[in-house]
Amino acid sequence: MTASHELGFVRKYIFSVDHKVIGIQYLLTSLTFLLIGLTLMLMMRWQIANPGQPVPVVGGLLESALGEPAGEGKISADLYNSFGAMHGTIMIFLGVVPLVFGAFGNYLVPLQVGAGDMAFPKMNMLSYWLYVPGGLIMLVSFFVPGGAAQAGWTSYPPLATIIPTDGQTYWLVAMLFIITSSLLGSINIITTVIQLRVPGLTWMRLPFFVWTEFVTAFLLLLAFPPLEAGCILQLMDRLAGTSFFMPHGLVVSGQPATGLSGGGSPLLWQHLFWFLGHPEVYVLVLAPMGIVTEVIANNTRKPIWGYRYLVGSVLAIGFLSMVVWAHHMFVTGMGAGIATFFQTTTTIISIPSVVIMTCLMLSLWGGSIRFTVPMLFALAFLSAFGIGGLTGLPMALPMSDVALHDSYYIIGHFHYLVAPGTIFAVFAGIYYWFPKATGRHMNQKLGHVHFWGSLVCMNLIFFPMLIQGLAGMERRMSDGGYNYSAAHPSNEGVVGALSGTVMQLNGVIGWAVLALGAFQLPFIYNFFSSAFAGRRVESDNPWQATTLEWQTPTPPPHGNFVQEMFVYREPYAYSLSHSTQPLTSTRKSNGSNGKILDFETQNQPVAMANGNPAKQEAPV
């Protein structure tokens, strides 16, 4: 606590071991990556809406930066594939995971469990400084001969192995960095939650956000290594000429592939990849659920309904998510018995998800809701998650999945979960905890512009995709299905013909993406201007929240808490009947200025009838 002012700029802000600084580093870096991912998509949507037209404004820049694949400022099919692969990779591995886990997990978990820092501060710093080179290698790969990886964010071999670009090798190396980074992060979070909880903070008193981060950490810890194994094997395939994923008798462009020993299996990669891939989906969505829970409890001013069900559900999701992965592979073909197994587990996993949704909905019931900006985003999360979840059910069943899997339907489905879902929850979190991190409020009006604009655009982007997919539009087509549609004149019963309306939706989506990008500008402005010139907070607990992170000075110093913490109660003690009892001296001293409070913080001693705090031994 004492040393913070003695540290130089580099030790304090660049190579810091303070979990809050690292959390903010993660936040800024991953938000930058989100912006890059959005930019890539903006250019791809231009190409889809106007196939073969040079990209306006940045076309020349693209050509000079990327050379031949962007000739005349147009996005060639190869470049489209690169952008598609990198959009997925950047958004998931460099954007959302570091955001929900690295940024929010780092900043909030130690605060919410009452710890002074993470269990391993230096390892925490290392985790961030492995993530940065991973991201840089990913970005550099755009400029190597042949361009960035082109085989999708899933990097399926043999395609990934035979495409003649070094970008794929860069992709694999970068992934190894990122995997190691999140491995260190997850070890840190789990150890912190197990070992550094303050006295009295029993497992069932943990804020739900901590639970979600805890389960997320386990998913990262146990699901990432098989992908690491896969990356090592694919690196061997690319660099040492082995054939882990290359089958016998492979034919490339009509020619038998030479120089291969064969004997491998592309499906092996898919298993290793999706063993990570599915838990990864829950990595993307569990922590946002936690953020939304915190925001909803605070803004409805009542306890979360069914806290125990929430915890049980998040544990069940964590467990089940490890045994559902092959539903991503139904189209590759598998025996009926095993397909039934994965279909069953996939259907079962929707139950805890629905339980969580139901608990959060019920928590709204009868609450005196404050429609603050974070609350708006949280409410939008609920509906987006509902749409995303429900549209996912057909993907659980092999029969409907085979028809829908390679269409725009699935793109619409999972983007509903991660774009208006996860990203909105992240915005809710940023608006909610911003006052704690900076000591200043974000601007409400700009927040409303940001929210309503994003909400409309998100739905204009992703809902049409569901329609296009059901109409039969395949995904991954660089011309937006133009040639595919033209090759099959629009007759009754001709598979593949897309109606004019379906094709026109490409244009709608393109404009909506552009508008979505534009609506992020108020947020970016708001973020930086409020950080330096926003309205100052009037107390350490401006939202009148109950959890421990609000019991620190604002912004929290190195070491976090100035007095020792003890926890006496559940996390969401809002509007409890006994809180309306006459004020005790302890509650008056809690910064209330004599106003009657409708909440009790977790560290507030239990009041006895005589007005004195109970001498309760805090259970460990």
Binding site: M1, A3, G116, D117, A119, F120, P121, M123, L183, S186, I187, N188, I190, T191, I194, Q195, L196, L221, L222, A223, F224, P225, P226, L227, E228, A229, G230, I232, L233, M236, A240, G241, T242, S243, F244, H248, S261, G263, G264, S265, L268, H271, L272, F275, H558, G559, V620
Partner: protein, 303 residues
């Protein structure tokens, strides 16, 4: 800023931080090697009949290396207890034995690698019969069955050569010392063969009779040639990836031990309990590396 439970034990969990961190790391390592073992099982089961080679690795050397590694595990475990008893000098002696074992293991492994890199398989473009090359009699169960490939060291040819590099060097014939025939049979084929031997009482031609017979092969008869490098086939790809990754773990563990043994020993003066804990944690890692080898040895060398 002091973090609690770095050396003392938290009462309700019974653990200090580093120990739970190390076990979490080991859990992820279990998943990493689990993924690689899954890949092994997947490829092994998916291999076409007779495709998975057998007996290409040196079993006595592998067994000796196993003993080296478990000895190092013992010295690690003992050194921790001596450190708990406060005997730093004995701990240091034991740990030096550990490091020597690690170096020995890696040295032997490198020698094995080098031996494989200079070990060749030659596929012939014109199948030969044992009649034409009597020295190859042991390579086939029947004297007139065509022999399509020969495995062995080539006289005067070092590691990593290819057919193209031999042609470039102007070699017209290669002199190969073929390996014993059983190297090229699957376990099932071997079992079948033993049954036949038992029933007929006739012992087939065996390794010792033909192991060192040289065979000269015309370079123009060679269709393909590959040293035992990862590219050779799925078996060697698996072998080199798994053992290579394991060797990297040995290097990592040895470096960590060496660090706490010399530069990190200052901590013994400041916080002996924490120092002992760090030895325990790296020890956990070391035992895990040993444990991986316990599985690697039979599945790669023997099965």
């Amino acid at each position: 800023m002091k973090i609690p439970y770095t050396s003392e034990i938290r009462e309700d969990t019974g653990l200090y931080n580093a120990k739970i961190g190390m076990w979490l790391f080991l859990a992820s390592e279990v998943m990493l090697f689990g993924g690689l073992f899954s890949a092994y099982v997947f490829l092994r089961i998916g291999a076409r009949e007779g495709e998975w080679p057998h007996g290409l690795l040196n079993i006595p050397i592998g067994a000796f290396n196993t003993l080296v590694l478990i000895t190092s595990s013992l010295t690690v475990a003992l050194s921790w207890t001596t450190l708990k008893a406060g005997d730093f000098q004995r701990y240091r002696r034991l740990q030096i034995v550990t490091l020597v074992c690690a170096a020995l293991f890696l040295g032997i492994k490198s020698w094995e690698y080098y031996d494989k890199f200079s070990h060749y398989e030659i596929w012939l473009n014109k199948p030969l019969t044992a009649k034409e090359y009597p020295q190859l009699a042991g390579h086939s169960t029947e004297a007139d069955l065509p022999i399509t490939s020969v495995v062995g060291h080539i006289e005067g040819v070092g590691p990593f050569e290819t057919l193209a590099s031999l042609q470039e060097a102007g070699m017209s014939t290669v002199k190969i010392h073929p390996d014993a025939f059983h190297y090229r049979l699957t376990a099932l084929q071997q079992a079948e063969r033993r049954k036949v031997e038992k029933a007929t009482g006739v012992r087939a031609v065996h390794a010792e009779t033909d192991e060192h017979a040289n065979v000269s092969i015309d370079v123009s008869h060679i269709a393909r040639m590959s040293a035992f490098v990862p590219k050779h086939g799925t078996f060697f790809a698996t072998y080199f990836t798994l053992t290579g990754l394991h060797a990297l773990h040995v290097v990592g563990g040895a470096l960590a031990f060496a660090f706490i043994l010399w530069p990190g020993a200052r901590m013994w003066r400041d916080d002996p309990k924490r120092y002992t804990n760090s030895v325990e944690c790296v020890g956990l890692f070391w035992h895990f590396v040993d444990l991986v080898w316990i599985f690697l040895f039979p599945i790669l060398y023997l099965l």
